[in-house]
Symmetry: D2
Subunit: 143 residues, 4 copies
């Protein structure tokens, strides 16, 4: 559950979607579009948070594997993926006009990280692959 999405008409001026000229929003439609974008963002923010948690855990776990060399690329991708998921979630939560573009790059990195993790049989990699692929899918919807 994300603590957004409850603006009423009275507070529609407090829109977190900020006015950069790229998304002109009329006052009367603002409340509705905000609620839409908040509902719209909610599951993607959640997917990003799940994915970054899985990536952080996977990277730490990989570093303790017996065949560490085999995990090097996985660790590298986990690091980039956790970072971009973290920022994508924050851009969405703050209603940044750049959220969609960041989600597009996030989807690409999540897909690559998930594909790499899916090659390994360890539980942390399998969990990470699932979280990455889910997040890639959610981010593609935003982009």
């Amino acid at each position: 559950m994300v603590t957004t999405g409850t603006w009423d008409i009275k507070e529609s001026v407090s829109s977190p979607v900020y006015s950069t000229g790229k998304r002109p929003i009329k006052i009367h439609t603002k409340t509705v579009s905000d609620e839409m974008s908040n509902n719209h963002y909610e599951s993607c923010i959640e997917a990003c948070n799940q994915c970054l948690t899985a990536c952080e855990n996977c990277a730490s776990s990989c570093l303790h594997e017996q065949d560490l060399k085999m995990m090097a690329r996985c660790i590298e991708l986990d690091r980039d993926c956790a970072d971009i998921c973290s920022l994508a979630a924050r851009f969405m939560a703050r209603g940044s006009p750049y959220a969609a573009k960041l989600c597009s790059l996030c989807a690409e990195i999540c897909q690559a990280c998930g594909d790499e993790c899916a090659k390994h049989h360890m539980e942390h990699c399998k969990q990470c692959a699932a979280a990455c692929h889910k997040c890639a899918e959610e981010c593609r919807k935003m982009a």
Copy 2:
């Protein structure tokens, strides 16, 4: 739900809690203590993610309030709070030996941010105050 906590005996060497000499863990108790620490961390990671989402949304919403001057300190604290929650969640997810110390500072900033937000009647501030106070409580348990 956090995608950690499912190590079995066979994979107990892959512990994400890394070995800095501060938390010596014997092989046979590692699986159990990992599961404990993952369960232990899980609700705090979740609280940090909720809190940072609420803070990002609150800061953006504050910037569109009529009486913006009144919200300046709230915006400043939202920013620090979102940043520290984000890093605390990641340190916990990766099993960093510094997670507890970061949670201690996170609790202090969350408390201050929640107290400031609680002074305002806007829905985004009320939601943020609740998320901050919840997170402060969870972080104090980790510290």
Copy 3:
């Protein structure tokens, strides 16, 4: 000065440019291309760090201005700009294959933030505009 770029032949296997299949690098050319990419990245990392410092300072200073409403968009852009500069610098420093794509988005946000800051006469805005425009230029070279 960035503490990279001093690999010699013997250590050329330790390339920070990681192997995702997108940038195949032969051993004998690796050292040279690394040095090139480190020199290449160095001034952009520096520009990103300058820019994010200026944005953090500008946002804090804006929040204490008399006409705070006039600064709202500046604060919003400062926040996005500081975040993306921070991540772009880190992706470059670690030799991520996604550094160029992140720099492309970073250039766009820096340009928008610099253009907004340039509208204001305060010293912190003028300094921030200069840092943003410089960083946009450096990031465009990477993209």
Copy 4:
């Protein structure tokens, strides 16, 4: 060079040191104390940026070393160290009242990371050890 520290009397209301009651500053002394704190912060922000760049580079380089197992703890510490340096630099740049406390933890992590890197003979580790120890020293002055 950090783009801060040029407030004059007229703009002394735009202090980036925000008012949480912990650092009460009188108007007439504000300009001076700001300049002091900006000069004070400047070399520490620079040290943090150098350190995080070195840590990112070291972690990526470690992942390509022949004896990767020997580098695992180095990679773990590089990651924590880069993250905390990044946030410490930003808290200082924005004049957060929590900058000193974050610098205190940053100093501890930098020291541990520098000590670990100093055990290895690779150029990236030597450079990282130097950057970490320098940053630990600068952060201790802030704490």
